[in-house]
């Protein structure tokens, strides 16, 4: 899957969980999901499970722990999808 498509889908999935939407609207790929977007850590788990469902991939715990930024998420899903 190309990065642009992955980015659009990742952004769509994260949006409902983000308290601060500005970094998403600015397209800031280095925005940290927990700190900058204000996503609760439990909801980050929901986001990763939503990635699994949307992209039909499997993300193990170790890889999930490495998802810190939007860029990390895009990289992981586009490499596996």
């Amino acid at each position: 899957m190309d990065q642009q498509t992955a980015l659009e889908k990742v952004t769509t999935i994260i949006k409902p969980y983000a308290k601060n939407l500005a970094p998403l609207e600015e397209g800031n790929l280095d925005a940290r999901i927990l700190e900058d977007l204000g996503v609760n850590s439990a909801r980050l788990v929901d986001i990763i499970l939503a990635f699994e469902d949307e992209f039909e991939i499997s993300i193990d715990d170790e890889t999930a722990d490495k998802v810190r930024t939007i860029n990390d998420a895009v990289r992981i899903v586009s490499s596996q999808a």
Partner: protein, 257 residues
């Protein structure tokens, strides 16, 4: 399949061993000081305390393995009241593994030395929520180590005090489910604790409050592994807490649900 979680390092093992030993030595002091404050300064009572302890002992039977205590969360001293409810000072002195380890948010402890010392003596492991992954991993390794060693650990599945005053079945955390998955044989003690006058969350229960308890022991499982399994198990725990809450309201406030 999830990889096996990393084992605890020697330094962390030593620190936990020391804290356990020091806490055990001070158990008669720390327990009865807290008990005296609750019982005589604040005037708290736990209704049916002896029956609760007897029933808990009966339901646990011969289980001496990992026990994760998962209560609802309404006040800042829920964990202290539950330590009182779950055993006497003498019991904890004889069986120190039964004195639950608590996991308070590090930021809530502040910088005051007295509170930090009290937390150390009362078997607290401060956790940093939303902290760096390496810090979270180390804390989880400590908790797993304790559970695997047959200690009791208390974790609030809601993650924070309930602002609505009712168990939050939507915005709960998944740490409890993760621990159940990662430590084989873990049983979950769901406890619903609420004072008769407790409406929503607060720092302290009202003076003279009488607490009523309800509990169940679960062995929650999920066909899923990893994060999905953690979420499934956490949901089972939170749903049992919510049903215990319903039972509490039916029994104690039949006209005010």
């Amino acid at each position: 399949m999830s990889p096996t979680p990393p084992a605890l390092g020697h330094r962390d093992r030593l620190e936990l061993f020391l804290q356990r030993a020091v806490a055990w030595v001070f158990t008669p002091v720390s327990y009865y000081l807290a008990w005296f404050w609750m019982r005589f300064v604040r005037g708290y009572r736990i209704s049916g305390l002896r029956a609760f302890r007897d029933e808990l002992r009966r339901k646990l039977g011969s289980h001496r393995g990992p026990l994760l205590v998962c209560p609802n969360h309404l006040t800042a001293i829920d964990s202290v009241v539950l330590v009182w409810a779950l055993g006497s000072g003498l019991h904890y002195f004889q069986k120190d593994r039964d004195f639950v380890w608590n996991l308070p948010e590090r930021r809530n402890l502040g910088e005051g030395l007295p509170l930090r010392v009290a937390c150390y003596l009362c078997k607290c492991i401060p956790v940093l929520r939303q902290g760096p992954p390496e810090v979270t991993a180390r804390t989880m390794a400590r908790i797993r180590h304790l559970l695997a060693g047959g200690h009791r650990v208390m974790i609030f599945p809601e993650g924070t005090r309930s602002r609505s005053g009712r168990v939050d079945t939507q915005e709960f955390a998944y740490g409890a489910g993760r621990l159940v998955q990662e430590v084989p044989g873990t049983r979950v003690l769901c406890v619903y604790l609420r004072g008769l006058n407790q409406e929503t969350c607060s720092d302290l229960p009202r003076r003279g409050e009488t607490f009523h308890l309800g509990f169940d022991i679960l062995k929650p499982t999920s066909p899923n592994k990893g994060l999905r399994g953690s979420r499934d198990i956490s949901r089972l725990i939170i749903e049992r807490l919510a049903s215990l809450e319903e039972e509490w309201f039916v029994t104690h406030r039949p006209t005010r649900q």
